[in-house]
């Protein structure tokens, strides 16, 4: 039997419907009622849980009083990508998880959706609350136009510095543009946000410029007063198995990028699909290939549901979309027919004494037309090669609490440094780095 892979497995209108937004935006009435649920806590747990320190009760109170512009400014002054984060933050393990209303009413205030409501309001009215500070005459290079790089660039621009952002892809935005699930980032949301960030002025983006190819770190350090590295993940982990390169086997991140950038009707979709991994990328891949019309989608993870990188809520989203999640199994063999994937053999696992999954020897086979690998991404440090390069730790760029690397004039943040790989943490890294760079430029 040959592989069953086709484009447009579903009618165009059905695919369009499947890719409509996960949550409809709050109406004005919903926003008013939901904001009235907020208790305006002192020393609020939600703010403490927010990686970017947004004054959450403060912005919700402003929605409640009708000062929605003010609410958006409260959000954006701490998190310039507050709009994206309102859509994609795993609020169920951040702000909303610790909302005191969980205790009193078993239901948190929907902080993420309120954040989106306020920032949408501002964007829809074309209000630009930020302006550049007095020109400092300092020039800073930012590598990577993703959340970390753009957050850093925006804060630096506000502080009066000139910023040049080098981006290897054709469009800025990083994972917001290329990596997040399409149904979470509809209507050019990422591009709108980037335009808003650039609108403040003082930021020049050079796309198609890759570190380690078109220029190196030494040149940047020579030509600029400071450098920020926001490379993100530039490499995908491999299974290290035979047949990993046959037709039908894909890196999930590459395919997700195609979903974001390509006509959905031109994407190859298998009848039977297997996704390997337990993080948000695996979930986004599994859900989206199902929405594109795959008949059966099985997500396989080698540990248990609790150990998954994907939150319980994300797992539920996958399950209600018809994805079957199988845990405690690891890939054993990739089976092929005519140099094309035909099935994946898995081995059951058990946790050993160290809490590591160990194969039991017992196996099962999942017939598959497509296999998506989502077992993690990594930093390829090769582009950093230069006369002097920043130290790495555990395969990522080593930074201190101010995102300062081991080089005096180089900072780094986002996925290429340690920490949770979330948009919101990347934004915070960029913001902190910008403040530290500003301090360095002003006071040495």
């Amino acid at each position: 039997m040959s592989a069953d892979i086709r484009c447009a497995r579903l009618a165009p209108e059905e695919i369009r419907k499947n890719f409509s937004e996960l949550h409809a935006p709050l109406t004005e009435l919903q926003a008013i009622q939901e904001s009235a649920r907020c208790l305006f806590c002192h020393d609020a747990p939600c703010t403490e849980a927010c990686p970017t320190d947004i004054d959450i009760p403060g912005f919700i109170r402003k929605i409640s009083s009708g000062n929605v512009t003010g609410a958006a400014c409260t959000i954006l002054s701490e998190n310039i990508m507050g709009n994206t984060c309102g859509n994609v933050c795993p609020v169920e393990e951040l702000c909303e998880q610790v909302c005191v209303k969980n205790t009193s009413e078993e239901k948190p205030v929907v902080i993420g959706q309120l954040q989106r409501y306020a920032t949408d309001y501002l964007f829809e009215r074309g209000i630009q609350p930020f302006s550049r500070g007095a020109e400092s005459g300092k020039n800073i290079a930012v590598v990577g136009a993703g959340p970390a790089g753009l957050s850093c660039a925006h804060r630096l621009a506000i502080l009066g510095h000139n910023v040049t952002v080098f981006e290897s892809r054709d469009e800025p935005g990083g994972l917001n543009e290329y990596g997040l699930a399409a149904y979470k980032m509809l209507n050019d949301r990422a591009a709108r946000e980037v335009a808003f960030i650039l609108d403040v002025g003082g930021i020049n983006i050079e796309t198609g410029k890759t570190l380690g190819e078109d220029f190196d770190l030494a040149e940047l350090r020579r030509d600029y007063d400071a450098v920020f590295i926001g490379l993100g993940h530039n490499a995908v982990r491999a299974l290290g198995m035979e047949n990993e390169t046959v037709d039908g086997v894909y890196n999930a991140v590459d395919f997700i990028e195609r979903i974001r950038q390509q006509d959905l009707l031109t994407l190859p979709v298998g009848r039977r699909v297997v996704v390997i991994g337990g993080g948000n990328t695996a979930i986004d891949m599994a859900v989206q290939i199902k929405k594109l019309g795959a008949e059966s989608v099985t997500m396989v993870y080698r540990r248990g549901p609790v150990q998954m990188g994907a939150t319980e809520y994300e797992q539920q989203v996958a399950q209600t979309n018809g994805v079957l999640i199988r845990t405690h199994a690891q890939p054993h063999r990739i089976l092929t027919e005519d140099n094309h994937l035909s099935a994946v053999e898995f081995e059951y696992t058990q946790m050993d004494a160290d809490g590591q999954p160990a194969g039991t020897g017992e196996t099962f086979v999942l017939p598959a037309d497509q296999l998506f690998k989502a077992i993690g991404q990594a930093l390829d440090a090769a582009p950093l090669e230069s006369d002097e390069k920043p130290e790495l730790v555990h395969g990522r760029i080593k930074v201190d609490e101010f995102q300062h690397t081991t080089l005096p004039d180089v900072w780094a943040g986002g996925d290429c440094t340690a920490g949770k790989d979330l948009t919101v943490t990347a934004v915070q890294d960029g913001k902190i780095a910008a403040l530290s760079i500003d301090e360095y430029l002003n006071h040495g």
Binding site: S65, G66, N67
Partner: protein
């Protein structure tokens, strides 16, 4: 960014938001926290004459909750400051010195003798404060001792005490009015005639917020007994706005500066008071519920709204609503609106129908088709444009009140053929 700086009766502050004389302004500690948060000024909690300190009870506040929300209204039975006079004076001096740009007005209440007022004024003047506010308003406790509302309810006393104060101090004198009277214009005129530089209103309203049915006593309850207290918070705002408008419209007091008080919790409330002519606004209940940090939205919200409306300063809209407050007899009896229901937005709750049917003009019909779909339709000929359906409808913009162009000219009651007094 709009300029929120404020000047009333010679007292300046960086914004119009002052804390009213009340528990939040009883101590240096609280007031400095308020100033750090960004408040424009305070009226220090009422000082009494030197001597044995005031004694307060335990159990002092009662709340009216509404629909699951706390403190729609709040009442209190606390008296004036219970701290020694000299401590208050020293702290006022220190705070004013440390925060020279903020308004520092000191509330006063002493027995009704010229000497008593003269003495306290001389002491207060030493603090460097910007003005005094005469507390003629407290409805509980002090009124039983011939002070507070006992003065505020007798215009002659108001005028006399105000005159004494104007003789014995050069500080701006604010007179704080009690709403527990029948016509607010009388005490306001008395204050004006006595030389007051401004009036502050409203003080709290006589109230019993609830009866504890288990012990059959009013709340707050002190050892099984309760007493009427002073009511404030969002529930009193409409009463205060009306009283403010009366003073602002009265030819006698038309130019008398007003510091507005009553249920101000957000920037919109403040803008409403200012539109009725208030110079500054005073806040208490909202900070007693949430803390001083609400100043952030008050300032930011008012500023954003002013920017949106093109108002550069408070003067640009101060009093702008006064010309549109009129007497009923001058309303246009030929003006006509009728309700319209947007069937796309209707969620079929039927509240518009049942309230109109039972309590108004039977102007909304109800029907149900075979599928159970309910349709409510306005009967244009029956609709008097009362707004009730529009007010009860839970969906924004589902019911609108639309003006009917009937081609008829302005006609008020004084000109109306049905007016027998015409």
């Amino acid at each position: 960014m709009a300029d929120l700086s404020c000047k009333i009766a010679g007292v300046s502050s960086p914004n119009p938001f002052w804390l009213a004389s009340a528990p939040p302004t009883d101590k240096q500690y609280n007031v400095e926290r308020a100033f750090e948060a960004g408040w424009g000024g305070v009226v220090w909690k009422t000082l009494g004459e030197d001597g044995p300190p005031i004694v307060n009870v335990s159990s002092r506040y009662g709340s009216v909750d509404f629909g699951g929300q706390r403190m729609m209204g709040l009442n209190n039975i606390e008296l004036i400051t219970d701290r020694p006079l000299q401590i208050n004076l020293d702290e006022i001096t220190a705070v004013k010195k440390a925060w020279p740009d903020r308004a520092m007005v000191v509330s006063l209440m002493v027995p009704c003798t010229e000497q008593a007022w003269k003495d306290i004024l001389k002491k207060v003047e030493q603090t460097g404060c910007d003005g005094v506010e005469l507390n003629f308003g407290c409805p509980h406790g002090m009124s039983e001792r011939g002070m507070g509302a006992a003065v505020g309810q007798v215009p002659e006393y108001i005028q006399e005490v105000t005159e004494w104060c104007k003789v014995h101090t050069d500080l701006p004198v604010f007179v704080k009015l009690t709403p527990n009277i029948t016509d607010i214009r009388r005490p306001a005129r008395a204050a004006f005639d006595g030389g007051a530089d401004a009036v502050s209103l409203i003080n709290t309203i006589n109230s019993i917020v609830s009866i504890d049915l288990d012990i059959m006593a009013p709340t707050p309850t002190v050892a099984g007994k309760g007493v009427h207290g002073g009511y404030c918070g969002p529930a009193v705002k409409p009463i205060a706005l009306s009283m403010v408008s009366e003073i602002a419209r009265d030819p006698h007091t038309r130019n008398l500066p007003i510091s507005g008080i009553g249920g101000i919790g957000d920037w919109r409330d403040a803008a409403e008071y200012i539109s009725l002519g208030c110079g500054s606004v005073q806040v208490c209940t909202a900070v007693m519920r949430y803390g001083f940090r609400i100043i952030d939205d008050l300032v930011d919200g008012l500023s954003n709204w002013m920017d949106e409306k093109g108002h550069a300063t408070l003067e640009d809209f101060r009093g702008a609503a006064i010309p549109n407050v009129t007497d009923w007899q001058y309303l246009d009896l030929n003006y006509k609106t009728i309700a319209a229901i947007d069937q796309e937005k209707c969620i079929e709750c039927g509240l518009c129908h049942i309230t109109c049917e039972d309590t108004s003009h039977q102007a909304i019909s109800a029907s149900k088709d075979a599928n159970g779909k309910r349709t409510y339709t306005v009967i244009d000929e029956e609709c008097v444009g009362c707004n009730l359906c529009y007010l009860v409808c839970p969906v924004p913009k589902c019911i609108t009140m639309n003006e009917v162009d009937n081609g008829l000219p302005y006609l008020n009651w004084t000109e109306h053929p049905n007016n027998p007094m015409k």
